[in-house]
Symmetry: C2
Subunit: 208 residues, 2 copies
DNA sequence: AGATGTGAATGAGTTCACAGCT
DNA sequence: AGCTGTGAACTCATTCACATCT
């Protein structure tokens, strides 16, 4: 097996941006584009586009540029966006509910297919495209829906427990909105999102 | 004026983490801690703690460590968290409503004090601690509440307009949840948050 | 003795500049 | 001629290792 040198988040996130830019160009019926012009149109760096792509092969035609549709397709495949990824949300509070109905989580390959909550009063209520279930249903839901991604929007005290339930159910990736640190588990990728920290960063610049 | 070499987001975000860790130690009545032990207890790097702090002065006592309460206070001041920062939310859809009631946005120095939405049916409705107002009220709301931070949770097509309204109203920092790029304005700091991109990053690791 | 604060070394990420292909 | 792909240079960030202070 070739020694896969882990791709950085920075690169991956830029690839997402490139793909979105290409999608827009497709809508404008642009057939071909140079890194130069792509960079100019979307405020990116031409060299960086080429370097980022270089990590995964050769995508362009020298002297010409990139075939928009073809590059979009290849990036989409590369990012794993050519097949469906079902999502389960743990904790249907304000944030969980918002994400359940969030466009970005229910578009293209992504779909929120289930959600669980501790609160018996919430169980059975419809949110977005699913009905809230009890936490002990996670395993069944994951099995039946083939969900791969879990979203954690529970209170911090319930984070560890919910995380382990997701892992046991066979979830392969977790988006963690709680401030609780989660212990790494083999085969499960965790991405932490800290909404509060963004405010604190802004506050710094506002000064004391 | 001394040439202020812009502090990186990475450093600032770590300072937030250090502060939270110290707060927890305060609750546990720990009076003093070394970078070594702080790192060990919260999965951080001791050298990095010292380097990060070094950018802002000397905080410790050699041979002893750091006074927990004192360092917490100094970090809190440094991050601008010792005074109140009022927040206005533009766009009270699912995400806007969730953030309006989100603990992290209504705790310590932060408070969501106002929200506006285009939709006439929403105007007048109570959300969290405020009543939804019309977009043309932004200027008055910012003036009356002294809000400094604006949160953008509008549809992408309304992003630019809402942003400019916030800027005109005198907002000094913007947390942008839309995918729309915002043109920089002098004196206004923008922090973009892309929730969708996190899913795409996870999808990459799940493979095609 | 024991921990901080910091120059020096290393590593990660970006930009430059150009060889090589179309 | 023009643009990609890429080694080399550079900048930013982290880690090492130790002089310095209590």
């Amino acid at each position: 097996m070739p020694n896969t040198p882990e791709v950085s988040s920075l690169t991956l996130n830029r690839l997402s941006i490139y793909l979105r830019s290409l999608r827009q160009l497709e809508e404008e019926r642009v057939a071909t584009i140079s890194s130069q012009e792509l960079a100019h149109r979307f405020h990116l760096s031409a060299t960086q586009i080429r370097k980022d792509l270089a990590q995964f092969g050769e995508f362009g035609i020298r002297g010409v540029g990139y075939d928009v549709a073809q590059l979009a397709l290849r990036l989409s495949r590369l990012l794993g966006l050519e097949r469906r990824h079902a999502i389960v949300i743990c904790g249907i509070g304000n944030l969980g509910r918002a994400l359940a109905e969030y466009w970005g989580f229910n578009h293209g390959p992504f779909a929120v297919v289930a959600g669980v909550d501790q609160d018996p009063r919430k169980i059975g209520k419809r949110v977005g495209t699913f009905v809230i279930a009890a936490p002990d249903e996670i395993e069944r839901l994951v099995r039946e829906t083939g969900a791969e991604i879990g979203v954690l929007t529970v209170p911090p005290s319930a984070a560890r427990e919910s995380y382990l339930a997701l892992v046991d159910a066979g979830i392969r990736a977790v988006l963690n909105f709680t401030l609780q640190r989660l212990e790494p588990r083999p085969g499960v990728r965790v991405k932490n999102v800290d909404l509060r920290i963004n405010l604190e960063e802004l506050a710094f610049h506002l000064g004391g």
